[in-house]
Symmetry: C2
Subunit: 342 residues, 2 copies
């Protein structure tokens, strides 16, 4: 007998007692045909024993069919996306959903295709990053989307949930740090104006020079693409140029791999020849000797929040207005920035 005032049993209790995963309990409730009968019997016995009552969200889910959420990114080998995926996956799994990954390789057609496929019965909702906030094909598909979606670090005119990062504030802070060390020839390599991280990072960079009353080194501003190849090309050109920057901000984790490739190829030393600031706490940024000073953010929290926003939409928040939740960054000092003689 359980005590009268005991906390209500959760889906996790049922999983523990029946010796299966939370996902299996959820499928036992929502899609019993997909569960082996011996397992189903164990789960049902545990539900009986614990007096478990599925919550309204679970009941809501029961009316849905796929128990799947689509996760659409350009490159799952990007550690940022992989970490976001894992955090969202863990959160959704707790509620009986699986994540279905689509790797678009950054092609607009694959993106449109993925959106089509998801809403035609593959998924109940979508978590995605899009390659451009201005691509008409993708925007048209998003406008016609009949399942809820959450955008990762993208901002479009449509009324859609999004998890964002305060890139501008973080970039101002990083740039001021370099200015304080005496740097004036600071290069910024990052994404283009068609995605929010690109725009915001440039805005934060300009803001730092404005605050300090210093001229912006316009010739060192390279904001067009987040790819490693772009990072490599621009860093190579900057390091070979006549007026080499004294510091580079590689604003994007793929950018960093490109910039480090250029640094390696040209035999430049960090921070002896050039100071370096990166974004996001990847293995490479953390473990590169120094380590590299970086603008960090809590990627796991971002992934978890994206999943929670979507779960809310699939449940009680069905008709609420769109939410945009923004996360702060913080500067983690490493050993990749040196002072410059004035």
């Amino acid at each position: 007998m359980t005590k009268g005032r005991a906390k209500p049993a959760t889906i996790r209790d049922v999983a523990r007692v029946s010796g299966v995963s939370v996902g299996t309990v959820s499928r036992s409730l929502n899609a019993p045909d997909s569960v082996r009968s011996a397992t189903l019997a164990k789960v049902r016995a545990a539900i009986e024993e614990l007096g478990f009552q599925p919550d309204s969200r679970a009941q809501n889910m029961r009316r849905r069919s796929t128990l799947t959420v689509g996760f659409v990114v350009d490159d799952i080998a990007n550690p940022l996306h992989a970490t976001t995926f894992k955090a969202a996956d863990a959160e959704l799994r707790e509620h009986g959903f699986s994540l279905y990954l689509v790797n678009t390789s950054g092609r607009a057609r694959e993106e449109a295709d993925a959106i089509d496929m998801m809403q035609h019965g593959r998924a109940d909702g979508l978590i995605m990053t899009i390659n451009s906030e201005r691509d008409p094909t993708t925007l048209k598909r998003l406008a016609a989307l009949r399942i809820p979606s959450v955008l990762l670090d993208r901002e479009i005119s449509l009324d859609v949930d999004a998890v964002l990062t305060d890139h501008a504030v973080g970039m101002t802070q990083a740039t001021e740090h370099l200015i304080d060390l005496g740097h004036r020839r600071i290069a910024l390599i990052t994404g283009g104006p068609d995605i929010r991280p690109g725009r915001e990072r440039v805005r934060g960079f300009l803001e730092a020079f404005r605050k300090r009353g210093l001229p912006v080194p316009q010739d060192l501003l390279r904001a067009n693409n987040l790819s490693a190849d772009y990072g490599f090309r621009e860093a190579s050109a900057l390091l070979q140029g006549r007026e080499r920057p004294t510091a580079i901000i590689a604003a994007g984790n793929r950018t960093l791999t490109g910039v480090l490739r250029a640094i390696q190829q040209q035999g430049v030393s960090v921070p002896g020849d050039v100071s370096l600031i990166a974004c996001d706490q990847t293995d490479l940024a953390r473990l590169y000797p120094g380590p590299i000073t970086l603008i960090d953010r809590d990627i796991e929290e971002i992934g978890r929040t994206a999943a929670q926003l979507l779960l809310d939409r699939l449940g009680e928040g069905r008709d609420r207005p769109a939410q945009r939740i923004s996360f702060p960054t913080r500067l983690i000092l490493g050993g990749s920035c040196a002072a410059v003689g004035r």
Copy 2:
């Protein structure tokens, strides 16, 4: 009119002419309900125009329902898995299949769950790496599997397709390279005997000492787990020990991140204080100053081959005996190994 002797049109030609992706053409053939009617009309017009005939494999697929293949790994943030996923995904997509990723976090229960879910209607086949070749839960599920599967770098007694790597040969070569540089106190940190990469790497390591008629430094052999934490713990202990190794082979890409964390924390220099060899060409191994000497293999080819084996099974190779295809490694010399005075 097309010429009589022209090459037969492929699904790619249909995609090009109709201005959609290969995946959409495939779904137009196999699951027309999932395609928007305007798109379907374009695809059908292109099929008509080109006189396209789906091949027997496509017809075979048509009898299947999910057009999905499950991809089950312990950690998609492992760059090895992410690269394999992308290569398999690209190959499968050419044939109209999507990959469905399950991230098991290395838990046997999640693995068993994923296998269950996949074969209960989620997928036509499976590509997977399992956490242990000896876990009874996973083995039982695999034995009962009624859809074809391909194992990544795992070898079990069941008659199942697998893509493997010649880890032993590569490890012998790497160890001999260190012996040639005068090293005798060589540490190996890698996975345990319950997975093929662990067993084979240890075998190759021992073989190098045997070939050279040298005693094996048994106290430096740490083969129990491929995780970063294990790499960190073992490298920390080895570097703090009284008889420090002069070289470490971090045999696993997660192992490498752990070993480098220990090296960073203890302020050890590479190759000044310790020589280092890693496995697989990750960003970290390539871009770490040196760079790190590594045992490389063609991960993309491995991913592609896994997809091809599965496609074959789903088509004409349905009843063929299991195939195990093994890929070679090659040693890429970096700057992380120094000679030791004798």
